[in-house]
């Protein structure tokens, strides 16, 4: 193996004036989804005019330009399509143990979520049936979608 040569040039530095963003996200048009999670429901939207199904839910149908949407529940069971386990956690998630994120096909939509009942990624198989339900994450005071393999 060769000597580890790499480009790393340091020098005199000064600190910037810190900048903090904390956004108030306007989710009024998808309010039912966010409140639904707390009630154990996961909602998608469907266009009443052309039938297009949206998950994540959206208030406008880009297909037929209608805003006439109805809320429909995402099935409680699905099939695991792919997954990963996040070891290098980003800012905001440092206090979590490494977590498994998966994509699950549920009826005609796919949803992202955390696998809640298995921690060993080698025990997870693509194609497995999973139960889908909202779960409360205390550290962030939020609900997310949880998967149970």
């Amino acid at each position: 193996m060769s000597e580890k040569r790499y480009t790393k040039r340091e020098g005199f530095k000064i600190s910037s004036i810190p900048l903090t963003y904390k956004h108030a996200i306007p989710v009024s048009k998808t309010e039912k989804f966010w409140k639904g999670l707390a009630e154990g429901k996961i909602y998608a939207t469907r266009c009443k005019i052309c039938g297009s199904l949206y998950f994540p839910p959206q208030a406008d149908c880009a297909n037929c330009r209608s805003a006439d949407m109805e809320w429909v529940e995402v099935p409680e069971e699905g099939v695991l399509v792919t997954f990963t386990k996040v070891y290098a956690r980003p800012q905001g998630y440092e206090e979590f143990d490494p977590y498994i994120i998966a994509i699950v096909e549920a009826g005609d939509v796919r949803v992202m979520g955390w696998v809640m009942n298995i921690n060993d990624e080698s025990k997870i198989k693509i194609g497995s049936k999973v139960k889908i339900k909202p779960v409360y994450i205390e550290k962030h005071d939020k609900y997310i979608i949880g998967f149970y393999v």
Binding site: M1, Y6, S16, V27, T84, I103, M112
Partner: protein, 386 residues
């Protein structure tokens, strides 16, 4: 549409560049590109500045870098297309020349990524999908997105962690011969496989580094190019496409549809066939990305990318010589600079100016650059010919 040539290229050393500001870094690339073209700033009619710059303190840096480079008044237009920003800058400058609006333009790409810590950098990168529905709820990271592809590709096609590691070994080998690369050292298969997990199944040495860097290309119309250089490199076509921001809305996780469509456009517009490409820089932000690129760019059938690397088909002198710069994986991946650094490398390759041990053997003198933004959110495929 007029023919457009690349008449000058420049690139800074990639790596941790905490010795310079963004404008000083840009100047390293612009100075070299101007020197290479033989042109002066007054000859440049338009400057296009590509930078993502979500980690920088200079939030609107286009005029800052333009001023420092003596280009005030010549543009700038700032563009952003995540990790494909450099190609978006190239496309914008190319379009301005091809349409006849200007005769000479410069495309500049730059990224400073090491002025914030790694956790912050991961949090910014993880927002590259759709913040509200993904990062906000699940803490997705950039490696995690490509890990989704790796897991699915492995399961469906039997692609192995060893095959992915071979991409890292190959690209580090060429980077060790590239004095401008971030990582100028080789790695062994075992070292890659034993490196710490980042987002399973991707490990540290499957990932491109967090790099600073700048690159630039001077473009000219055919009339101007013929007058100023004996070695114009022609932009035969630039194909582009995109995919959904919501990862869950992608049709599958076995390849990048945006790449496939951008490649189809580039091949069709240039009349070049995949097998004619002799040297390529492909978007290997993670090792799985290079394996999928072999397939999506049409060099091998879908699912056989792992075998393509294992057989050495992408080595120097193979079916197509891929990432002789070291790729994003080892040369480094400063987002806004990457697309133009690919052009820098390919122009040097086509002019046969590369160092020993990493100059591709050429007969057709056809090169391909493949630059992906986000996790397949954008893709650009550029075909160059000398």
């Amino acid at each position: 549409m007029r023919r457009v040539a690349v008449v000058g290229v420049g690139m800074s050393a990639f790596g941790v560049r905490n010795d310079v500001t963004i404008q000083e870094l840009v100047w390293e690339a612009v100075r070299e590109a101007l020197d290479d073209s033989g042109l002066k700033q007054k000859d440049i009619e338009l400057s296009v500045v590509g930078t993502v710059n979500t980690r920088g303190y200079e939030l609107m840096p286009a005029v800052v870098v333009n001023e420092y480079s003596g280009l005030t008044g010549r543009g700038p237009v700032r563009v952003e297309a995540a990790c494909a920003t450099g190609s978006a800058a190239l496309w914008t400058a190319y379009s301005a020349v091809a349409s006849g609006q200007v005769d000479v333009a410069i495309a500049i790409g730059v990224e400073k990524m090491n002025e914030v810590d790694t956790a912050t950098s991961l949090a910014v990168g993880g927002r590259a999908g759709n913040y509200l529905w993904e990062f906000h709820m699940y803490g997705t990271t950039f490696p995690a997105y490509y890990a989704f592809y790796a897991t699915a590709h492995m399961q469906k096609f039997g692609t192995t962690e060893e095959q992915m590691a071979m991409v890292a070994v190959k690209n580090h080998k060429y980077a060790s011969r590239n004095p401008k690369a971030h990582f100028q050292f080789e790695v062994t298969l075992e070292e890659v496989l034993k490196s710490r997990p980042i987002a399973w199944p991707l490990k540290l040495l499957d990932c491109s580094p967090i790099s600073d860097g700048a690159a630039a290309a001077v473009l000219a119309s055919e009339d101007v190019a013929r007058k100023i250089t004996d070695t114009p490199v022609w932009i035969e076509a630039i194909g582009y496409s995109s995919d959904t921001s919501n990862f869950t809305r992608r049709p599958h996780y076995l390849g990048l549809e945006a790449t496939r469509k951008a490649a189809e456009m580039a091949y069709r517009r240039s009349g070049v066939e995949p097998r004619q490409v002799e040297v390529a820089e492909v978007h290997d932000c993670f090792t799985i990305a290079e394996i999928m690129a072999y397939e999506d760019l049409g060099w091998v059938e879908k699912g056989k990318g792992g075998i393509f690397i294992a057989e050495g088909q992408s080595e120097l002198g193979g079916k197509v010589s891929v990432n002789l710069s070291g790729g994003l994986k080892a040369k480094g991946h400063p987002l806004g600079a990457t697309g133009l650094a690919q052009i820098y490398e390919l122009v040097k390759q086509l002019r046969e100016e590369r160092e020993r041990g990493r100059q591709a053997p050429l007969r057709n003198y056809i090169a391909l650059g493949h630059n992906v933004g986000g996790t397949g959110h954008y893709a650009y495929v550029t075909i160059l010919r000398r």
